[in-house]
Symmetry: C2
Subunit: 101 residues, 2 copies
Amino acid sequence: MDAQLKRGILDVCVLAAIKNEDSYGYKIIKDVKPVLDLSESTLYTILKRLEESKMLEVKAIIHEGRVRKYYHITKNGLNRIEEFKNEWKKIMEVYSFILGE
Amino acid sequence: MDAQLKRGILDVCVLAAIKNEDSYGYKIIKDVKPVLDLSESTLYTILKRLEESKMLEVKAIIHEGRVRKYYHITKNGLNRIEEFKNEWKKIMEVYSFILGE
DNA sequence: TCTATATACTTCGTGTTATGATGTATTACA
DNA sequence: TGTAATACATCATAACACGAAGTATATAGA
């Protein structure tokens, strides 16, 4: 998909991926990739950003000798998803415009 | 609307605005703004980009003492719109994912 | 006549962001 | 021994939206 089109949905996509269950980087990539291709560097950048803006909380856990960072969605994160749903209405208007008013 | 969400649709939005009739910067802003807010600097940046990628052709015309640059969509531009419509299907899948698989 | 306001386009600097490349480290299996 | 899978991190780069500021003309109203 066009790189520009991705922006703005990627963040929310990651939030959605952990909405129902805490998850970690490697798993999130596996879950999101079939729907929307993203690289490791992109994902970890996003996770850091979402953490900084308090939409996610992190807990590091040792799993089979490796560090695993589990991400948990916060209220802010849930709000962001709701906000996105509202923005979507606007997006649909724009789409109609593009199809030919 | 979220700045990131705009990217990827702005270009196509501008193309759509001149699809049926040649237009110029000032008018394009007026036409697109009700649907999707954009500033002058943004618009002219986009127009330049679309011209460079051969999606638009420009013709400068003197209108009431002022220069007016009329933009005409090319075949490339029309293709871009069609491409966008295809990408939209993918976007809808992502949207479903966000809503909760 | 003076002054907004509308018309019309341009340039620059800044901040945000996706991504490829590269690196580190462990476990599992052939 | 080697190779794939697991798991996360960092850096440099390029694309892009946007505010700010600038240039210039026409027109309507005070």
